[in-house]
Subunit: 385 residues, 2 copies
C-alpha cells in the first residue's frame, strides 16, 4: 500500500425531506447565491423547497449553468459574486452545476491573475467562497470531493482542477429529488459512478486489500441497484443506494493508497469536447475498449474483477478477463447505454485521429504506468467503433 492523505470534510445530510435543513446549515447573516442549470429544479419542486428554507436569508440566483459547465458562463457568475458581496454559494443540481460552482467559488477569490490559469496552468487557490450543494443528479461525486471539470467554448477544451478550498461544506442528498430525472440521466449516472470505481480499482495489485473490497462493494451495489432505479422510478431504496454509491465512488476513499488510471475519463473528455457525447456516454464507449487494450498491464486486477464482481469462475486467464469486460459492456447496454462509437454516428478513425493530434500536442501520457500515449489512445478509439 502506498502512503496517502485522506480528508473529506463535507457534511452529508442524506434522506427524504432534508432540504429544509438548509435554513440551519447556512449562517443566516450570509448573502447566498443559488446556482443552477437549465431550470429542471423549478419543475420538480426542489427550487421551491430551497427558497422556502432560505426565507430568512438574503438570496440571489444564477441559472443557466450548462452540462459540461462553460468558463465563459461561470465568469458571469463570478461578477455577480463580486458585485453583490455574496458570502455563500449554494449549488442546486447535478455534477455540472456543482463543478461550475466550485470554479465560481475559486475564481471569485483568485487574485493572482486570469482565473483560467486555475485550469490551464495550475494556478494556486488560496481561498474560495464557501459553498454547499443540493444534489439532484447522482453521478459525478462532486458533492463530496474537491474536484471540478470545466469546459471552454472558445478552445474546445475540458480541464479539471482540485482544491480543498472548494470541497462543499455540506451536501444535501434527498433521493426523492431524483424521481423526476429522465431515464437517460439515471443510466448516465450509474455508468459514470461505475467507471469512477473501475478507474481506481483496475490497475495493478497494490495490496489495498480493503480498498479493493470497498471498490468491489460499490460495483456490486450498482449492479444490484442500478437496474432497479430504472425498473421502478420511485423505488426509494434503489434511488438511495444509487445516490450513495455515486458519492462513494469518487470521494477519495477507494483511491487511498492505490494507483489510479483516469485514462477513460481523459479520453472520454475529448469525445465530449469534439463530438458532443454526454460524459457517461463517452465513458461507456472508451472503457471496454481500453480494458481490452490494457489487458496485460491490468491482468491480475481484471481477473479479480471478473471473479469477484461478475462471478466468473471458468476459463483461461484471457477468457476470464474477456468475460468480465463483456459482462461490463452487457451491463451498460442493459441500462440502455450504447457502448460503440458508431452508435453516436462518430467515425472511430476520425475520433482516433483528432484525439491523437491533441494528445500529441499536449504530450499526454495516461494510465497507472503512463503507458497510454497518443498512439495507444488512438488504438483504443479505433477499436471502440
Amino acid at each position: 500500500m502506498e502512503n496517502f492523505v485522506y480528508c473529506c470534510p463535507t457534511r452529508i445530510v442524506f434522506g427524504k425531506g432534508t432540504i429544509p435543513q438548509l435554513r440551519d446549515l447556512v449562517p443566516s447573516d450570509q448573502h447566498v447565491l443559488i446556482t443552477y442549470g437549465g431550470g429542471s429544479i423549478k419543475k420538480n419542486g426542489v427550487y421551491d423547497q430551497v427558497r422556502e428554507a432560505f426565507s430568512d436569508h438574503k438570496v440571489s440566483e444564477f441559472g443557466g449553468i450548462e452540462p459540461n459547465p462553460v468558463y465563459e458562463t461561470l465568469m458571469k457568475a463570478v461578477e455577480v459574486v463580486k458585485s453583490e458581496g455574496v458570502g455563500f454559494l449554494l449549488a442546486v443540481g447535478g455534477g455540472s452545476t456543482l463543478d461550475g460552482t466550485k470554479f465560481i467559488a475559486a475564481a471569485a477569490r483568485y487574485e493572482a491573475g486570469d482565473p483560467w490559469d486555475i485550469l490551464s496552468a495550475g494556478g494556486k487557490i488560496e481561498s474560495a467562497v464557501p459553498m454547499g450543494t443540493v444534489l439532484t443528479l447522482p453521478a459525478t461525486g462532486s458533492e463530496m470531493n474537491a474536484v471540478a471539470v470545466i469546459s471552454r467554448e472558445s478552445s474546445q477544451e475540458k480541464l479539471a482542477f482540485v482544491s480543498e478550498a472548494v470541497a462543499p461544506k455540506f451536501s444535501i442528498l434527498d433521493p426523492e429529488t431524483t424521481y423526476s430525472l429522465p431515464e437517460n440521466q439515471v443510466r448516465n449516472g450509474v455508468v459514470d459512478a461505475f467507471v469512477h470505481v473501475t478507474e481506481q480499482y483496475l490497475t495493478y495489485p497494490a495490496r489495498g486489500t480493503l480498498q479493493d473490497r470497498q471498490a468491489e462493494g460499490i460495483l456490486l451495489s450498482l449492479i444490484e441497484e442500478g437496474p432497479r432505479t430504472l425498473k421502478d422510478m420511485k423505488d426509494y431504496d434503489a434511488r438511495a443506494n444509487f445516490m450513495w454509491c455515486a458519492t462513494q465512488a469518487l470521494n477519495g476513499l477507494i483511491g487511498c493508497g492505490v494507483p489510479g488510471d483516469f485514462a477513460t475519463h481523459m479520453i472520454g473528455h475529448e469525445l465530449t469536447a469534439f463530438f458532443g457525447l454526454a460524459h457517461a456516454e463517452s465513458l461507456a464507449v472508451v472503457l471496454p475498449s481500453l480494458l481490452r487494450h490494457e489487458k496485460d498491464g491490468k491482468r491480475d486486477k481484471l481477473i479479480q474483477f471478473a471473479k469477484r464482481v461478475w462471478g466468473v469462475t471458468d476459463g483461461s486467464e484471457d477468457e476470464i478477463i474477456e468475460a468480465g469486460v463483456r459482462k461490463t459492456e452487457e451491463f451498460f447496454r442493459s441500462l440502455g447505454m450504447p457502448t460503440r462509437l458508431s452508435e453516436f454516428d462518430v467515425s472511430p478513425d476520425e475520433a482516433a485521429d483528432r484525439v491523437k493530434e491533441r494528445f500529441t500536442a499536449r504530450g499526454t501520457k495516461l494510465g497507472e504506468k503512463q503507458a497510454i500515449g497518443p498512439e495507444e489512445a488512438a488504438e483504443i478509439l479505433r477499436a471502440s467503433g
Copy 2:
C-alpha cells in the same frame, strides 16, 4: 435506508515515515500538550520522532493515561491544560490515550458544571481544545471519530460520550509504529475492529446495499490480513490493511442509514469494569453468545453474513447461521483469543448476576430493537461460559 448525517472531517495522514509531518499539521504558535499512556512510545522510537517534529513548538507532556482511561487521571491533565495555557492536544498511543485525550479536550473547556456530567448526564459540549493523534495501536477507530469511552475508578463505571468538537483535526497512522506491539494487542485490535463492524451490520435488513458491502469488505479484509499481521510481525502491507480496517470499522461510514446494535460492547464494558477483561477479550466472549441468543431477530443478516463473509453454502437456515457464528469464534481463537468466560477464571453465573443487577438499576435495554434487557444480557453471559 434510513436518513442519516455523515461528517468525518479528520485528515488522515497514512503511511511510513509520516510522523515528521506533525511540524506542519500543528500551528507553530500553539502550546502543545503531548498525552500518552504507559510509556511504550519511549521504547519504540515514536516519542523521539514526535519530539523531533515539534522542535520549534512549545511542548508539555502528560503521560500515564491508563488502558480504559480513568476520569481521575484525566482531570489532572485538565488542570495542566488550564494552568499552562495549552492550545493543542496531541494524543500519541492507542484508543485509550486517544479517548482520554478527547475527554481532556472537552473537560478543559466545560464551564457548565462538573465535567463528569459530560459522561453521566449528557452535559453539552460547546467547544473543545483542538486535538490531533498519532495512532500506534489499531483497534478502536478513535482516530477518526467523535466518540470516547471513559472509566471512573470510584464507581466502577465505564461510560461513553460523543461530540464533533473532539473529532481529531488530523490523525497520523504509520503502520511501522505497530511493529513493536505485543501479539495480544494485535489480536485484540483485530477482534475489536471485527466486532465494531458486526455491531453495525448484524441487525435487520434495512436495504443498506452499499453499507452491507462495505461492512463485509472490512470483515473479509480483517479475515485475510489479521492472521498475516501475527504470522509476520513486520509485514508492512498486513499492518497497513489492519490499521486502515480498524479506522474504517468505526468512523461512521458503514453505520450510515442502517440500524446498529452495540449490545456486545455495552455488555463487554461491564466485564471489563467488574472483572478486568481487556476490552477485546470481553467482546470475543460476548459476541458469539449474543449472536446465538439473537438468532431470530438477526436471522436474515446472520444468513447473509455466513454466506458472504464465511462462504457457507449448505444447510438449513439454522445450520447456516450456526456455521457463521462458529467460524467467527474459530477465527478469534485462531488469533489466540479466548472466547469463553471460564477461560478468564470468571464465573458465568456471577457475571450474569452482576450485569443483570446493574442493567436493572440503570433500566438498560440494548440491541437494534431494544430486545436485550437485564435478563437477556444475563442469559447471554450464562451461555458464554
